[in-house]
């Protein structure tokens, strides 16, 4: 499990589709998420589980983070999903419909039991929790702090808006949930991941939503089609102007350090710690993004 890594895009791949599974690694998503839950018919749950299990054990997805969305643990299917995918070496288990910290703790105990039974070092398997209800949103902080295995928490908007008795519109209906999830994630030092944008043909709408969640502070977003990956990464790529400013800030800090000065300034403005942190983050993101793009070719 890699706790910290680039997670701008997490691509859903239906777990019972061999063609999509085979090609999942080639589109440039930072994380690939095989889905055993909503995209698989109830009569095909067993077949999808076998397929994802064999794919995880056989196919080489390079440096991609491999996530599997399991079925609800209360459905009786979720435990079987865990039995298969933990043994197959999944990087991260995505727990759906997380309403409370207890849901995460229960899932973690099951993962630990399977790791011990399979001779896998305890703690190898990461987790992320998808919050999809009003209860879950209100418990976001406790959920985010509930396990050291958590690499992030995510918003699942379709179920959430249904729970709120509304529908998805311009995003105002999701603002409270997004802010709760984001602050909970930051409080726990883990990633915040946004929900899917379902209208694949509306690229402008997708870009607007991606821009909004980046402004809020999210680390990334789930995508349902490879076409959404490139526009999403472009939204997360710092502009050249921002990068120039970040480089100038770091140069001013280096200059001040060389002179033995405890205070640095740029264009007459003092550079304080949060400014340096933001500049460092931006340069790191640009560097990783460029390396990543290079590897995809």
């Amino acid at each position: 499990m890699e706790r910290k890594r680039l997670r701008r895009s997490m691509m859903f791949v239906p777990g019972n589709n061999p063609g999509m599974i085979k090609d999942a690694g080639i589109y440039g998503a930072d994380s690939v998420m095989f889905d055993l839950e909503d995209s698989v018919a109830i009569t095909e749950k067993d077949a999808a589980r076998f397929l994802v299990f064999q794919a995880l054990k056989t196919l080489d997805f390079g440096k991609k983070e491999i996530v599997v969305r399991i079925n609800d643990l209360n459905s009786g299917l979720g435990i079987q999903d865990l039995e298969a995918i933990v043994r197959a070496g999944v990087h991260v288990v995505r727990l759906p419909k997380t309403d409370s910290a207890e849901d995460v703790v229960f899932c973690e105990k099951e993962i630990e039991r399977i790791e011990r039974a399979a001779g896998i070092p305890v703690g190898t398997t990461g987790m992320m929790a998808a919050i999809e209800s009003a209860n879950g949103v209100l418990n976001a902080k406790e959920i985010a702090h509930s396990s050291d295995r958590l690499i992030g928490i995510a918003l699942g908007a379709e179920d959430y808006v249904t729970d709120l008795k509304t529908t998805r519109s311009d995003g105002v209906e999701l603002l409270f949930a997004r802010c709760m999830i984001l602050n909970a994630a930051r409080s726990a030092g883990i990633d915040a991941l946004d929900t899917v944008y379902s209208d694949v043909n509306n690229e402008q709408g997708f870009i607007e939503e991606a821009t909004l969640i980046k402004k809020l502070g999210f680390d990334g977003k789930s995508v349902i089609n490879p076409r959404q990956i490139d526009p999403l990464h472009k939204v997360f790529m710092p502009s050249e102007k921002d990068l120039e400013k970040a480089r100038a800030i770091m140069a001013a800090i280096a200059d001040a350090n060389a002179k033995g000065s405890g205070v640095a300034s740029l264009n007459g403005k003092m550079i304080d710690k949060p400014v340096v942190l933001r500049a460092q983050r931006m340069l790191a993101l640009a560097e990783v993004s460029q390396t990543d793009e290079g590897e995809e070719v």
Partner: protein
């Protein structure tokens, strides 16, 4: 594993294979395979089917497989799913797969 009824898994989509298993009392495993890549990979697909059934302890069965260019891991997954369905067995032993 004892097969007790017909079990089918897979689809006719590209990159998949549809596997149908029927129980038999004797005579080993008989495979009827059709594939869009029969010339190149027919023997390999048949070998994977046989090996998977051997691993599952299925000694006698009739196999009808329609391949649409499935990878070996997909063939294994579909044969396993069909076999567990044909055996009406839901005690999956993931540790030995």
């Amino acid at each position: 594993m004892k097969l007790v009824k017909t079990g089918t898994a897979g689809t006719m989509e590209s990159n998949d294979i549809m596997v149908t298993l029927d129980p038999k009392e004797a005579g080993g495993v008989q495979i009827a395979l059709s594939s869009s890549v029969m010339q190149q990979f027919g023997r390999q697909i048949e070998a994977v089917i046989r090996q998977t059934l051997t691993e599952l302890g299925v000694a006698h069965a009739t196999v009808d497989a329609v391949d649409k260019g499935a990878l070996d891991c997909t063939v294994r997954a579909r044969v396993r799913a069909a076999a567990y369905r044909a055996a009406e067995d839901q005690e999956y032993d993931w540790g030995v797969m």
